[in-house]
């Protein structure tokens, strides 16, 4: 087709239970240009990519490919139509060669029906040479470095004759020189007239390689700008500018902080470096940063879930070492993990069982469980956090996200627990606005009871307005600490993106 290549979104909307992921998003990516898709975590970038790749379907709106409305029921049909989305996770088969990966799905055959290795090699070599890369077609993909694996994926997309190529945070695993190779490739794609969509929150890159920028926020289209006519400050403002409702103003907060409960000195794991901070009794300390900044890893290290390779954790003045979560729990540290379904709850068990999990041993006479005590514990949690359920026998899988989170909160704050430090990792992820407000108040109430809270969130507004102090992380390091009074989203985001 000789007409200009383009992909246009018109009024795209998509909802998940309790969340409006995309709302009336419209913009157009044109051939021969690189369009950046910019937004905070949860702005809707990934959902949009999934819709264009056919992985998910939009609830509303339409997609126009080269001016023609298209509907994709699955990734295959999107690929066939000429759309390739290159995700962070490689979709290559590591045990097979580069050439086999490049032509997987359309391997050449000889007349007798066997694999035509000679033609495969020749075609692969041609393709690789066209891109000017030094890759041996016979090399096993798993032995290439990450950047070259990504190149293979890009070549695969080009060979499939994709007109539209989208990259999801492509530079995250790459080194500087590898990034340069990638950018050369992107410029080549652009010169070939392809429409490139580039998702990233690294500002510097966006100015290097893109032509236009579309900013999303909370699933809505905010603005479209020409890269040459804007600057970093304007973009950050567009990314964060939103009304902070009365939710935070109406919170009844704790104002009395006690002594330092938890002190972390130069903590190191495989993922974090030299992390030091203190948390006082009754204080809510926020951990902010982009996805992959190392916030969850700090939580896991404190909880004995990841191996600590250096530094010190001091709890109530005494140095502690946790080899397992059990040891951390016994000393009064609790973690509501990032992924409720995979790490928090046993989905096929009841509220009662899930609340009792860490304290099963205390609910026993000898080795036998006292059913009544277990029930009592769960009833109290249901009442305390007003968990919406007819009975404590209801399975976790049948609860809404907000109620699931309350079950986990109930688990860690039951009368059988002596939680001193409560770590909340993305506690409001996928939870509707009303329940969010409830959870904020619960967190403040727990702080009033003297619990030290570490609050991790990717939602800037939330972490800034709830926390008494905000620790900002980037790449496994702490890049700054700001108090609530001086915190602005611009300030925190700038620290979070510090290169």
């Amino acid at each position: 087709m000789e007409t200009a290549k383009s992909l246009e979104f018109r009024g795209i909307g998509k909802s998940f239970p309790g969340v409006r992921a995309l709302d009336n998003v419209s913009f157009k990516a044109e051939g021969g240009k690189v369009l950046a898709l910019l937004g905070e975590n949860g702005a809707g970038k990934s959902t949009l990519l999934k819709i264009m790749s056919g992985d998910q379907r939009a609830d509303e709106g339409e997609i126009l490919l080269n001016g023609v409305p298209v509907v994709f029921n699955d990734p295959q049909s999107a690929i066939a139509a000429g759309i390739s989305v290159i995700y962070q996770e490689r979709q290559l088969i590591p045990s097979m060669s580069v050439m086999e990966n490049l032509f997987a799905g359309a391997l050449p055959k000889t007349k007798s029906g066997l694999l035509d290795k000679r033609k495969l090699y020749k075609d692969a070599k041609e393709l690789i040479e066209k891109f000017g890369l030094a890759i041996d077609p016979r090399e096993q993909v798993g032995r290439l470095n990450v950047a070259y694996q990504q190149m293979v994926e890009i070549m695969k997309a080009c060979h499939r004759d994709s007109d539209i190529i989208a990259f999801d945070e492509p530079t995250a695993p790459l080194t500087d020189s590898e990034i340069r190779i990638l950018f050369d490739l992107i410029r080549k794609l652009k010169a070939d007239g392809k429409a490139v969509i580039y998702v990233s929150h690294r500002m510097a890159e966006i100015f290097q390689v893109t032509d236009e920028i579309v900013v999303l926020k909370d699933g809505r289209f905010v603005t479209a700008l020409k890269t040459a006519e804007t600057n970093e400050a304007e973009l950050i403002k567009a990314m964060v500018g939103r009304d902070i409702g009365d939710t935070y103003a109406n919170l009844s907060r704790n104002t009395k902080f006690g002594e330092v409960v938890l002190e972390v000195r130069n903590l190191k794991t495989q993922f974090i470096h030299d992390v030091s901070f203190q948390v006082r009794k009754g204080e809510i300390v926020g951990l902010a940063g982009l996805v992959g900044a190392g916030r969850t890893e700090v939580a896991r290290a404190l909880f004995g879930a990841d191996q600590v390779t250096g530094g010190e954790i001091v709890l109530e003045g005494k140095p502690v070492v946790f080899k397992t979560p059990r040891e951390a729990i016994d000393k009064g540290i609790a973690l509501c993990p990032e992924d409720r379904k995979e790490q928090g709850l046993v989905m096929g068990r009841s509220i009662k069982d899930n609340v009792a999990m860490p304290v099963v041993n205390e609910l026993c006479r000898g080795i036998f469980i006292i059913k009544e005590e277990m029930a009592k514990l769960a009833e109290k949690s249901v009442a305390k956090y007003s968990i919406k359920t007819p009975t404590i026998e209801k399975l976790a899988v049948e609860l809404s996200g907000g109620n699931q989170q309350k079950v986990i909160l109930g688990r860690w704050t039951s009368e059988k627990m002596e939680t001193k430090v409560l770590i909340l990792d993305e506690p409001t992820k996928g939870i509707d606005v009303g329940t969010k407000a409830e959870i904020y108040q619960t967190v403040c109430d727990l702080a009033k009871q003297g619990i030290a809270v570490i609050f991790i969130s990717s939602e800037l507004t939330e972490v800034i307005n709830l926390s008494d102090r905000i620790i900002v992380m980037h790449n496994g390091h702490i890049t700054g600490v700001v108090s609530r009074e001086e915190a602005t989203e611009e300030k925190v985001l700038t620290l979070a993106m510090l290169e």
């Binding site: 239970p17 729990i329 379904k341 469980i369 209801k394 899988v397």
Partner: protein, 344 residues
């Protein structure tokens, strides 16, 4: 998937239903065989049939209990029957070739079986072997060692090892009043393990680990220790099965438990213990076993070619697995897609 508004009570009644369904299936099976054998001019309800079913249950029941407990925790052991056969040969050799007292022989056999279990657990927990592969290798090792033990003092010739000992033959064939001793032990084991799995903190933790190992770990449950216990328990019960088998036959047989290789697993799945873990209990496992054995002996009574019995047993396992997968994975996939977390 159940709707948001279904109450806890209905959930419980569904769990109850599973047992009810199994009992119903068992009754249907008995009726089919009664009618079938009557049509062929025979009789299904005979004392001998009943006794056959019960005694055939004994050996496989220990396998089922061990495999079932392990499967509730989400793990699997393919070496159980081979380890049991190994144990039976150790017992026979210890009595026959080394002239050890019966109780010493029993203890040695069970300890060696336990070692296999511990090694299985080591492979799975420390070296993160998939249980499927690690235990399959161990099965081969156990089998080889069984042959070695059987050849002790015979110039390297492997063959069945006969032994005679009053106590051991009582274990295999003795009666307490009108009831076979082995049946009593079986009943005791089923009841004890039933209580262990449903009423104690240990059983509860096993179910948590099976339901979601990561969540259990992050809630402070020592899944490693429990995994060790369950693998060792599974192997020891394999050994117990082997010992009952040997005591009944009066010899350590080279072919011991070969027909029972996957009996424990099949019965457990039939009885509602999910392959992925977290679901099921001993009552279901017992009825699953009862169904499996009734089926096999029923086919025998009505005179179906034993080769076909094997084929049908396989079909039963397939059906049970299919039902398990439908129940377990279909809703999970639906949930994942609904919440938008399913990535390609």
């Amino acid at each position: 998937m159940k709707k948001e508004n279904s109450s806890g009570r209905s959930v419980r009644s569904i769990a109850g239903n599973k047992i009810f369904q199994l009992v119903a299936l068992f009754v249907v099976l008995v009726i089919i065989f009664t009618v079938w054998s009557a049509l062929k001019g025979g009789q299904f309800f005979k004392i001998t049939t009943l006794r056959n079913i019960l005694t055939s249950l004994v050996v496989s029941s220990f396998l089922t209990i061990g495999a079932g407990c392990l499967m509730i925790s989400g793990n699997i052991d393919l070496s159980q029957a081979a380890v049991g056969a190994f144990g039976s040969m150790v017992l026979a050799s210890a009595v026959n070739a080394w002239h050890l007292p019966w109780f010493v022989a029993l203890i040695i056999a069970l300890l060696l079986c336990a070692a296999f279990g511990a090694f299985n657990a080591l492979l799975v927990t420390k070296y993160r072997f998939p249980a499927f592969i690690g235990t399959l290798a161990m099965a081969s090792i156990a089998k080889g060692l069984m042959y070695l033990f059987s050849s002790i003092g015979k110039g390297g010739q492997a063959s069945n090892v006969a032994f005679s000992n009053k106590v051991l033959s009582f274990i295999g064939l003795g009666y307490v009043g009108p009831i076979p001793f082995s049946i009593i032990i079986m009943a005791v084991f089923f009841i004890a393990y039933g209580i262990l799995m449903s009423k104690t903190r240990f059983g509860m933790k096993v179910t948590f680990i099976g339901g979601n190992p990561e969540a259990a770990r992050l809630a402070g449950i020592n899944s490693k220790a429990i995994t060790y216990i369950l693998f060792i328990n599974c192997s020891i019960l394999g050994g117990v099965a082997g010992i009952f088998n040997a005591c009944r036959l009066g010899q350590g047989a080279l072919t011991a438990l070969t027909t029972n290789q996957f009996t424990g697993l099949t019965a457990a799945v039939l009885g509602g213990i999910s392959f992925g873990g977290g679901v099921g209990g001993m009552a279901g496992a017992f009825i699953g076993l009862l169904i499996l054995n009734t089926f096999q002996i029923g086919m025998n009574v009505v005179g179906v070619n034993p080769f076909w019995v094997n084929v049908f047993s396989g079909v039963i396992l397939l059906v049970a697995l299919a039902l398990d997968f439908i129940a377990k994975y279909a809703p999970a996939r639906r949930i994942a897609r609904k919440s938008g977390e399913g990535r390609i």
